[in-house]
């Protein structure tokens, strides 16, 4: 049984688990303030950013800073709860399948959820750009190629963070604590992106990427730019270590 054929099985397990509902809710809540505050976008002369760029970047900055990490934390825990609440995991452990593969298949499902959330956000972005545009009589829409490029970068940079959240959900048995630690770990990312060692803190990656894009779009703002060294090696190391520990720890508590 290889990992790829396990992924559909893992998809099936989270049926009716309200994960999609959470994703939709988070995305909708994210864009409502952007629509309501659309007129703010015209007062950004000091920063030197065009209204349409500002509309896009502010929305995705809010997403990267809190609502996206928070939904991912909740989803990791929900994924694990489906296994634990009715001892589903016991059945899995008694089947001829390696726990490391199960663990990785679940992680792949998590990564695809994050992709879905970003895709939904792009959809909601265009919907809200349309609504805000007709309210303000201004065209807020940006070309899809640009949007997909920016969002794709954020998504890729989020993978080490997802690996860390996955580690938390696997290793901490009490769900409220894995959620609590996950959420609190998100908060300091505002502080971390302003320091020299931001690359050591995976929760800050997507937020850092989008703020540095903000710096590029706003001519009068100086933001730290992404430097691939030492970021890439550190990020890769964090991801691999987190995933390795989770694969080792997965199902251990049920096998004492």
């Amino acid at each position: 049984m290889n990992i790829l054929s396990l992924v559909p099985v893992e998809w099936k397990k989270i049926r009716r688990s309200k994960i999609f509902f959470i994703l939709v809710l988070a995305t909708v809540i994210l864009w409502i303030p952007s629509i309501l505050n659309a007129d703010f976008n015209f007062g950004m002369q000091a920063e030197g950013i065009s209204p349409e760029n500002n509309f896009f970047i502010q929305g995705f900055m809010a997403m990267a800073w809190f609502i996206f990490p928070a939904t991912m934390v909740v989803i990791t825990v929900l994924q694990n709860q489906t296994e634990r609440s009715n001892h589903g995991i016991l059945k899995m452990l008694a089947l001829p399948v390696s726990t490391a593969k199960l663990c990785m298949a679940k992680f792949i499902v998590l990564v695809s959820f994050s992709a879905i959330q970003f895709l939904m956000s792009i959809g909601m972005y265009y919907v809200s750009a349309m609504i805000a545009g007709s309210m303000q009589n201004y065209n807020f829409m940006l070309p899809p190629f640009f949007i997909f490029k920016e969002v794709g970068m954020m998504w890729a940079s989020a993978i080490p963070m997802l690996a860390f959240f996955w580690l938390l959900a696997v290793c901490i048995q009490t769900p409220i604590f894995s959620i609590g630690i996950g959420l609190t770990s998100v908060v300091p990312s505002v502080l971390m992106i302003n320091t020299k060692v931001w690359f050591a803190y995976p929760m800050a990656y997507p937020f850092f990427v989008i703020t540095s894009e903000y710096g590029k779009l706003a001519t009068n703002l100086e933001m730290d730019q992404v430097e691939l060294i030492p970021w890439l090696p550190v990020a890769a190391l964090i991801t691999v270590v987190c995933l390795m520990i989770s694969c080792i720890r997965f199902g251990q508590a049920e096998r004492r």
């Binding site: 959470i22 809710l25 988070a26 809540i29 303030p33 809010a62 809190f66 609502i67 928070a70 909740v74 929900l78 009490t174 409220i176 604590f177 959620i179 609590g180 959420l183 609190t184 908060v187 300091p188 505002v190 502080l191 302003n194 320091t195």
Partner: protein, 240 residues
């Protein structure tokens, strides 16, 4: 009496360690911020406590609110998880007594939380800034104000936690509320009255008049939310 009972119920749930470690984490925020980039703040022309709070309170209060939300969920989850609440309801005590017992517990640990943070802010002021005579009073005044504005948040989180038997729903609503609160512009008086937005305010960011209004509003909200819970419990009883 019900305070002691409620305190006993959170045994081994990790409630107290969570608040202790959360408090230490929040207290570490100003210290780390200063350690990393004190040059940004030392030269500023304002009272040290205000500089520190201006730079860090946003993050510290966010941690506080998340802790309060999670704490409220834990407090009620012990009732709902194995249906203990059913037994409680068949005992000669009121559900509202239980609610206020839990409120007392949550307020107590929140005071503990704020105290740890106050010590840290105080320590940072002494370490990185010149000592000033009224530092004591300033710290006390600020954290007294924070406690006042945290009361509605505490009660509101408990209301949310008590309404749903499924902890995940309460926690989800709580997290969404926290997020909404972070999106509220701090200069809009009416919007900042949202219970989850109040703890983000600092004394320095508003004039004395506005601060007085906030203090009154916080007290009124606290009472109103308490009444709301009593009503919710009454209505729920009549439907069960």
């Amino acid at each position: 009496m019900s305070f002691v009972l409620e305190l006993r119920k959170v045994k081994r749930t990790g409630f107290l360690p969570a608040f202790l470690s959360g408090g230490i984490l929040a207290a570490a925020v100003p210290a780390l911020n200063m350690a990393f980039r004190s040059e940004m703040y030392v030269g500023m022309n304002a009272a040290p406590v205000n500089i520190l709070l201006d730079a860090n309170w946003q993050m510290m209060s966010m941690l506080n609110i998340l802790l309060v939300v999670a704490g409220a969920c834990i407090l009620y989850n012990t009732e709902y998880a194995d249906n203990a609440i059913q037994r409680m309801c068949t005992l000669p005590t009121k559900e509202s007594t239980m609610f206020f017992g839990k409120t007392a517990v949550l307020i107590t640990v929140s005071i503990l939380l704020l105290m740890i943070e106050a010590v840290s802010v105080f320590g940072c002021s002494i370490h990185w800034f010149e000592e000033s005579a009224d530092l004591y009073m300033e710290t006390l005044k600020n954290f007294g104000f924070f406690l006042m504005l945290m009361l509605p948040t505490i009660l509101f989180s408990l209301v949310i936690a008590s309404v749903s038997k499924n902890m995940w729903i309460s926690l989800g609503i709580g997290v969404v509320c926290v997020f909404v609160a972070t999106m509220i512009p701090s200069q809009n008086f009416v919007l900042t009255l949202f219970p989850f937005a109040l703890p983000f305010l600092t004394l320095e960011s508003h004039t004395a008049d506005v601060i007085r209004n906030y203090t009154v509003a916080g007290a009124v909200e606290t009472v109103l939310i308490a009444l709301l819970e009593v009503m919710i419990l009454k209505v729920r009883r009549s439907f069960e």
